[in-house]
């Protein structure tokens, strides 16, 4: 099982400078490491650099404490699932899966054993004699997955391997991959757009934007204490509600988007720079329905989505659209003013200028302490 170390890694193309800037990262043995970021942020590029398919413009890449900057892909001992599958169109599924094993002259019996195991795992047993063009997108993706499984490489790189599967198969495959990874113990670097995948699969997540690391950490940490506004709005679905805010009246009251006024607990206000422009964030599940005793605000509903087990309600707050997620089914009409409970202990505070986190929600912190 490999460990991977990136030191000041950077990438520039002739046409475009600084696709990736000074990436420092340490991926532990057997870790399931997830890379997320918006399209074009450089995820695939980073993965391809680790694989050896893309020249490293600057910095050091170490696998198992050995410098591998100069090694060709085949000497790095890894497997990869490509974003576009990269199946061999002239070979059958079986030949595709066994391509690498034949190249490495693995014994015939061992080949068949691994083939059978992998085919069963991804549910391709029936399709072994087909050519890739006779498969659906999802089936092709599973062939690509099987191909990397049979290699038994200690490091597996996956570039959005589930992006073409339907929702049911996707959640099934998510569990499968995770279980497989636990069983075989290989280190995985997994690129995805889908932040549900990121949250549920990753031991740790790295958020990448514009070629720069935004934050690295455990999924829950990223969710509760996003390092900046970008991570805050990228991790979690629906995205975190955000609004410009400033303090009024002796630091007791906070005005959000010039519309809402929130009383702030002194213990929370204590750590805040009161003279600077702030941006606050609050998760959808913390924008609670107000009861007769605790209602703090009345907000006008602009959209309601009934999801069955919960109701997603959108409000207009200044220039922002805020979303609340309430468990159960709520008979609410658009245009109605509904009572909500907004408590300062759920608020995250960001510096409006730099975007970085000043203080995370005190409620979340308390919970974490309890867990530890």
């Amino acid at each position: 099982m490999s460990q991977v170390e990136l030191i000041e890694l950077s990438k520039s193309y002739e046409k475009q400078k600084d696709i990736l800037k000074a990436i420092n990262l340490f991926i532990k043995e057997g870790e399931f490491f997830v890379l997320v970021g918006p399209s074009g942020s450089g995820k695939s590029t980073l993965l391809r650099m680790i694989a050896g398919l893309e020249e490293i413009s600057g910095g050091i890449l170490k696998i198992n404490n050995e410098l591998v900057n100069h090694l060709p892909p085949k000497d790095r001992n890894l497997s990869m699932v490509f974003q576009n599958y990269a199946l061999y169109p002239h070979l059958t599924v079986e030949q595709n899966i066994l391509f690498g094993l034949k190249a490495k002259k693995v014994g015939k019996q061992e080949q068949q054993r691994r083939l059978k195991e992998a085919a069963e795992m991804v549910g391709l047993t029936e399709l072994l004699k087909r050519k890739p063009r006779e498969l659906s997108g999802g089936q092709r993706q599973r062939v690509a997955l099987a191909r990397s499984i049979v290699s038994h490489a200690p490091l597996c790189l996956m570039d959005e391997p589930l992006s073409n599967l339907d929702a049911k198969l996707r959640s099934n495959m998510r569990v499968q991959i995770r279980r497989l990874q636990k069983r075989l113990g290989f280190t995985t670097i997994y690129v995805t757009h889908d932040q549900v995948e990121a949250m549920t699969m990753g031991d740790r997540i790295m958020v990448l934007n514009d070629g720069k690391i935004q934050q690295v950490g455990r999924p829950i940490t990223l969710y509760n204490e996003p390092a900046n506004l970008f991570v805050a709005s990228f991790i979690g679905s629906p995205k975190m509600n955000i609004g410009k805010a400033h303090f009024l009246a002796k630091h007791k009251r906070l005005t959000v988007e010039n519309e809402l006024s929130i009383t702030v607990d002194p213990s929370i206000a204590r750590g805040l720079p009161l003279d600077r422009p702030l941006t606050i964030g609050i998760r959808a599940e913390h924008l609670l329905p107000g009861t007769t005793e605790n209602t703090t605000h009345y907000l006008e509903v602009v959209n309601v989505e009934q999801l069955g087990n919960e109701t997603s309600i959108a409000f207009d707050v200044g220039t922002e659209l805020w979303t609340a997620k309430w468990p159960g089914q709520w008979p609410i009409q658009v245009g109605q003013k509904v009572p909500v409970h907004l408590s300062s202990e759920h608020l995250l505070f960001f510096d409006s200028e730099t975007g970085s986190l000043i203080q995370s929600a005190s409620q979340a912190k308390k919970q974490e302490v309890l867990v530890i």
């Binding site: 050896g52 398919l53 060709p72 892909p73 085949k74 490509f82 070979l91 391509f99 690498g100 190249a103």
Partner: protein, 314 residues
């Protein structure tokens, strides 16, 4: 009751109407198709179909010197051909020529294409060089090689002399003439074949090689399991065209050897030309042409049959 039967009736009428419209559309499509084909139909008729039918017709007659039919002789022209040792020799030479030139051309071009498809600095220069013979006319190339083959002044014999070997009559020695012409032909055909194969190589998706690299495949493994199969349609095309070209070789023979020595290089097309325009035997020449046509047709058909199994079309 009457309402529903009425509804069924109108449905039927509608269906009939739909059928009519469909039919009209089909007719329109057919007409359009024929219209598009018309230019090539006219050209092909004037320059391919008519001459072909005329050739077949002529092959059953004796003619006078201006090509006017005189006596109907049936299959006599053909029978005479296959009794003639010279014609049989010509066929043999032609097949030998194909055998000498086609595999060598394709293999050398493939090799050059593979090394030229590497991403190296200045590779464009080599690509230009390798494909440059495509831009040289048969006449120019033949004259150039004639100088090389010249028994006394030619570079080849000069070289042989300098290492103390007897000079060779490249174009005059019956043992060497066909080989010499073949070498010239190979040199001339490499340009085109190289270009076609290079194009084929470049269209192979680079992801396949990346994936193979990661899976630990070596250079020759990739060549055998990815490059050659993915290139097979192009390769098939190159081979077919090369074979047909080889069967139809004329220019270099006319300039270099005129079919000599001792008919060693008298390939069929050249033989047809001599029979018709030197001996004025248009009937017999036409018969030869028909035999050549059948041979090429037959070979190409076999190739397609074999190709079906081996070629991977995407």
């Amino acid at each position: 009751m009457s309402m529903s039967s009425l509804a069924i009736q109108t449905n039927e009428i509608n269906l009939e109407y739909v059928e009519q419209v469909k039919k009209r559309q089909r007719m329109k499509n057919l007409l359009k198709g024929v219209l598009f084909l018309l230019p090539s139909i006219i050209l092909f008729s004037a320059f391919v179909f008519y001459p072909m039918i005329r050739t077949i017709y002529l092959s059953f007659f004796l003619t006078n010197t201006s090509g006017v039919t005189t006596v109907f002789v049936g299959l006599e022209n053909y029978i005479n051909l296959f009794k003639s040792p010279i014609f049989l020799k010509n066929i043999q030479s032609t097949f030998l020529f194909v055998l000498y030139t086609v595999p060598a051309t394709v293999i050398i071009s493939l090799f050059l294409a593979i090394i030229a498809s590497e991403k190296l600095k200045g590779i464009g220069f080599f690509r230009t060089i390798f494909s440059s013979t495509m831009g040289i006319s048969v006449a120019a190339a033949s004259v150039f090689w004639m100088f090389l083959f010249n028994p006394t002044m030619g570079l080849l014999n000069q070289l042989l002399k300098s290492i103390g070997v007897e000079p060779i009559g490249w174009l005059t020695d019956p043992n060497w003439a066909l080989l010499s012409v073949s070498v010239t032909t190979i040199w001339m055909n490499i340009g085109f074949t190289f270009l076609v194969l290079l194009g084929g190589l470049q269209s192979i998706n680079s992801y396949l090689y990346e994936s193979a690299d990661i899976e630990g495949a070596g250079y020759f493994y990739k060549l055998r399991r990815i490059t050659i199969p993915m290139l097979s349609p192009t390769l098939f095309f190159a081979i077919t065209v090369s074979i047909i070209n080889a069967f139809q070789t004329f220019g270099q023979i006319d300039i270099l050897t005129q079919g000599g020595p001792q008919n060693e290089t008298n390939l069929i097309v050249y033989s047809i030309y001599r029979e018709a325009f030197v001996n004025y035997q248009f009937g017999s020449a036409s018969a030869q042409a028909v035999v050549l046509f059948i041979m090429i047709l037959f070979l190409t058909a076999i190739q397609f049959k074999l190709g079906e199994r081996k070629v991977h079309y995407q």
